[in-house]
């Protein structure tokens, strides 16, 4: 790339055994690096090259090492191509120990570094070794005294993760930085409230708060992207997925639109990564959160969730509420509360139903992946627990459970039974011919369902032991894959021993 105009050449040969540097002069004669200072100058030049690369191109989106055992040309080992920053591998082994020592000496107060040098050195160091906690800690201090801004650090971490997608220290530092951003956000929010109380709410302030919440939404979106990238780069990347859980817990608290969106956008991802247990675990987390929220007391559901529900749950008819009231079946707040509760229950049933369907579909399409079977176990267990906790709201009609509705529609249990029979069919493999698979689209409600909904009856088939048993038998009947058979038998055993003794 860039040749050096004059002075020291970049070509180095490093003799690991003798632990000193030898450089190739322009005459091709091997010559020892004369002094410590000379090494110093050279390494600083590489560090500066990295800093300059970021200045030259603020859109760098990936870092990497270029396999290159020795320097062949008299040029900088830092290469910038198409927004990718590469370091030739020959220079890593002397660059890393050098920046490492320098930072440790600074930490021990044996060597002074100014702020700019600290920023540059920690940047180089963390791109090469992002699990070096001390360097992140130095950056925390720089951030706290305002030398660095949080976005810069999130960006550095993001780049480090392109090369080291698991790096625990990088994820930990990220959470710290995000907490700083959240704190900033909540401080502004509070001061705004105070001002409003004093009657001094200004428009400018409102704008600022709007900006901040936009900023927060952007940060959230960006975090999801960083997590997905890292999850794609390294299979079963536990660190990336648990970071994602942390992010939705802390940055999307109570925002169930985000949870719903995550659940539907994860559908395609898990379908393409059928042995990634961490990805499925994230799905289990989302499901559990949503169900907990939906199953809360009717009072709180009425006050906080109608908006989420109508906007995020595709199967719910937004006019449902007013329709029933217009029919005059029940009056006032009582009807509204009952409606809400019913709506929540239906949504919960839908979530469980869709998850089990997805699971069946994946197990049948991709035989022999244990992850899919343990996901099924988890979802069924969640359902089992939920049903036990909410039994007072459900009536148990043998194989098919149904929601206890205020108007006891005689067709109700029938619908439940039909849906269950439908499931049995799908299990026998006839579904593939008649229905398209829904993987990359948001699941659409069955048109028949919306008709039922208008009549006040909407019932997806709930999971149930008989359905599970018939699913397992259908797998055992026609699958010759030995792994698949083993997992199916283990699941059956689990059903019998753990789930069997249910009322």
């Amino acid at each position: 790339m860039c040749l050096w105009p004059s002075g020291l050449p970049y070509c180095w040969v490093f003799f690991t055994r003798k632990k000193f540097l030898v450089r190739v002069t322009s005459h091709g004669v091997l010559k020892m690096a004369e002094s410590e200072e000379e090494v110093d100058v050279l390494v600083q030049r590489v560090v500066k090259d990295i800093t300059n690369a970021f200045k030259r191109n603020p859109n760098i989106d990936e870092i990497g090492v270029i396999p290159c055992p020795e320097a062949r040309y008299n040029r900088s080992p830092i290469v910038l191509v198409e927004n990718k920053l590469g370091v030739e591998s020959w220079c890593v082994k002397f660059l890393l120990p050098y920046v490492h020592n320098k930072l440790l000496l600074y930490r021990q107060r044996k060597h002074w570094l100014d702020r700019e040098a600290l920023v540059d050195i920690t940047c180089t160091l963390l791109l090469l070794n992002p699990d070096f906690t001390t360097a992140w800690n130095v950056r925390k201090e720089l951030l706290q005294c305002g030398v660095l801004n949080p976005e810069k650090d999130l960006y550095l971490g993001k780049l480090a993760l392109t090369k080291f997608p698991k790096s625990p220290e990088t994820w930990i530092h990220r959470r710290w930085v995000l907490q700083q951003i959240l704190r900033q956000f909540s401080v502004v929010g509070r001061s705004r409230k105070q001002q409003q109380q004093q009657g001094e709410a200004e428009q400018a302030d409102g704008e600022r708060s709007q900006q901040l919440s936009d900023h927060l939404a952007r940060t959230l979106h960006q975090e999801m992207k960083v997590c997905s990238d890292a999850a794609c780069r390294y299979p079963s990347n536990y660190n990336a997925w648990s970071h994602r859980i942390w992010v939705v817990q802390h940055m999307a608290k109570g925002n169930f639109k985000v949870f719903h969106d995550e659940l539907s956008s994860m559908r395609l991802w898990v379908s393409m990564h059928v042995s990634d247990h961490s990805g499925f675990h994230y799905r289990q987390f989302l499901l559990k959160e949503l169900i907990t929220e939906l199953s809360q007391t009717p009072a709180s559901t009425t006050t906080c969730s109608p908006q989420h529900q109508s906007s995020t749950v595709p199967s719910v008819n937004p006019h449902h509420h007013s329709d029933t009231q217009a029919n005059g079946e029940l009056s006032g707040a009582e009807a509204a509360g009952e409606d809400e509760r019913q709506l929540s229950l239906t949504t919960v049933l839908h979530l469980f139903h869709q998850e089990m369907e997805l699971c069946s579909d994946l197990i049948q399409s991709f035989p022999g992946h244990e992850t899919l079977w343990s996901h099924r176990r988890h979802v069924f267990y969640l359902w089992h627990q939920w049903r036990r906790e909410h039994q007072h709201r459900c009536s148990n009609n043998g194989s098919s459970e149904s929601v206890h509705l205020n108007n006891s529609d005689p067709g109700l249990t029938e619908v439940g039974a039909q849906s269950c029979a439908g499931r049995g069919e799908s299990v026998n493999g006839q579904r593939h011919a008649s229905e398209p698979m829904e993987i990359d689209r948001a699941p659409l409600p069955d048109p028949r369902d919306s008709k039922r909904l208008k009549r006040g009856v909407l019932l997806p088939a709930p999971p149930g032991l008989p359905c599970e048993h018939s699913f397992v038998s259908s797998i055992l009947d026609r699958c010759s894959n030995p792994e698949q058979r083993r997992f199916a038998l283990a699941y059956k055993k689990w059903l019998d021993t753990v789930m069997g003794p249910q009322p």
Partner: protein, 198 residues
């Protein structure tokens, strides 16, 4: 679930001749892509050379599976996938691609052809379409056609080699691998992984 490369080769008396190839290396680090591509070409050729006529085989190498089918007329194809990707779909893809290729390209051109001279453009399309095995619509129908017990499974590349032959030597001798790729191979070998090189 990922397909990395799909190549068509002609199995000559001693060497396999690459006729056409398609790659999807987006999941690899940018600076490794060229080396990875060279290695996939090298591996595909090696596998075709070591697979007998009229047979199907799957070769496991670290986290990759290379599926090969060499027909009786010496035309062969290799698809390199990850271990998650359904094997059955890979063999459907190979059958389909070879059948289409032999219809479109005259067999006179096979022994001496190379990627520049061969006019067959569908490989990239097939590779990207089959990235999602369900869209490829190959899940259900193959089951009957393919007898899975006839596919030979090799647990390492080494098991393809003859007595006394070493993969390291083959890599060192190869004319198709550049210096950077050979360096890449050495580091990857040390780490026992293709993706981590530091």
């Amino acid at each position: 679930m990922k397909l990395y490369s799909l190549s068509i080769l002609y199995k000559g008396a001693t060497k396999a001749n690459l006729l056409k190839a398609a790659y999807d290396l987006s999941s690899f680090s940018f600076f490794q892509r060229s080396s990875v591509q060279e290695f996939m070409t090298f591996t595909s050729a090696l596998i075709v050379e070591r697979t007998s006529q009229g047979s199907r085989a799957s070769v496991k190498e670290q986290e990759y599976l290379c599926h090969v089918y060499v027909r009786n007329d010496n035309l062969g194809a290799v698809v390199i996938a990850d271990t998650e990707y359904p094997q059955r779909v890979c063999f459907t893809l190979l059958d389909k691609v070879l059948e289409e290729f032999s219809r479109q390209v005259d067999s006179i051109d096979w022994p001496s052809g190379n990627p520049e001279t061969i006019n067959y453009k569908a490989l990239d399309i097939h590779l990207s379409k089959y990235q999602n095995p369900r869209e490829a619509d190959a899940m259900s129908k193959v089951q009957a056609e393919l007898d899975e017990t006839k596919i030979i499974l090799h647990n390492t590349m080494e098991s393809l080699l003859e007595r006394g032959e070493k993969l390291d030597d083959l890599v060192a001798k190869s004319e198709h691998l550049g210096n950077q790729s050979k360096a890449f191979y050495k580091t990857a070998r040390k780490q026992n992984s293709c993706c981590e090189i530091m």
